[in-house]
């Protein structure tokens, strides 16, 4: 999968674990490909102590939500990224709270690949609504493929193409596969160092 990702033009790939007792594995990525580890938590496992422990091990801490109640609950946690395990429609107040929390939101198009008929219609409807609200409130979005095998890896510049179904200008969303993930990594690195928000290390000098 990693060699396919390199071939398709990725420079950084995020690998996901879901079990909080597991540690990042040793992998040998191909040349010029960086691997970062990410943990996907559920809303009931986002206690500050757990997150502090996991932050030392994982570059990105993501949390899933399957309903609006869960979404509201996870907004108060100290995770970096929120994603929907099961698609549901947001409303404006949800997205306003998300904007004030400073978290990133992950969009993935995997449900679109396997949905058919009325399920597809619903998926596109919810996607269109959510994307419109996220854009309106300028939420940082990350687009991912959620690939679980080699043939689900999608070239990075193809990733935002599915948003044409939400009637948006795809060009606007290219940053969601380049600048935004880089910014997320930078932010999570500074959190791991214990730096407060807005403080960055540009250069280190040994004295």
């Amino acid at each position: 999968m990693l060699s396919m990702a390199r071939k398709l033009g990725f420079s950084v790939v995020g690998l996901t674990l879901e079990d909080i007792d597991m540690k990042p594995l040793e992998v040998k990525p191909p040349e010029n490909l960086k691997v970062v580890w990410r943990i996907d938590l559920t809303h009931d496992k986002t206690q500050p102590k757990t997150i502090d422990k996991l932050r030392k091990l994982f570059s990105i801490i993501a949390v899933s939500c399957s309903s609006r109640d869960e979404f509201r609950a996870v907004l108060k946690t100290r995770t970096d990224l929120i994603f929907q395990k099961k698609l549901f429609a947001f409303n404006l107040s949800d997205v306003r709270v998300l904007a004030s929390s400073g978290k990133f939101f992950e969009l993935n198009f995997k449900p679109l690949i396997y949905a058919r008929g009325f399920e597809m219609v619903n998926t596109i409807k919810v996607l269109r609504r959510n994307v419109e609200l996220l854009r309106k409130m300028k939420i940082p979005i990350i687009i991912s493929s959620w690939a679980s095998n080699t043939y689900e890896v999608t070239p990075p510049l193809e990733l935002p193409q599915f948003l044409i179904l939400a009637d948006v200008n795809v060009q606007e969303f290219y940053r969601c596969v380049s600048e935004e993930p880089a910014r997320l990594l930078e932010l999570s690195t500074s959190k791991r160092m214990g730096l407060p928000n807005g403080v960055r290390i540009f250069r280190r000098e040994c004295v």
Binding site: Y151, E152, T154, P155, E158, I164
Partner: protein, 110 residues
């Protein structure tokens, strides 16, 4: 001013097994129809210009329908039970430029 501009796409189809040209053609048209309907497909003016056994393909499409075609291509993950990945190598306004830029071994061939 030209009303109907065409865009040419170079594709690489990677399969888990053997690449079946007919299955790819059928699947792409089915996916496009499913997403955009008969009216959408008629507007796209989709043509399969080259479909090699090596998985390399050249398609032509109306420039306004290019994003729609790319979405349809992205959603193809299986051809008759064989896991598949369609990778757009590049897009160009002329076949000559497309071949020179993305399928450079093809230059000079008919």
């Amino acid at each position: 001013m030209k009303m109907f501009k065409t865009r040419y796409l170079a594709l690489k189809v990677e399969c888990d097994g053997e690449f079946d040209r007919n299955s790819f053609q059928k699947n792409l048209i089915e996916t496009y129809l499913r997403l955009y309907g008969e009216y959408g497909l008629s507007k796209a003016n989709l043509k399969f210009l080259r479909l090699g056994d090596d998985g390399l393909a050249i398609l032509s499409v109306n420039h306004r329908s290019l994003p729609h075609l790319r979405t349809a291509l992205m959603l193809i993950r299986e051809l008759d039970g064989v896991r598949t990945l369609v990778h757009v190598l590049g897009v160009s306004g002329t076949i000559k430029r497309l071949k020179a830029k993305f399928l450079s071994t093809d230059v000079g061939k008919s």
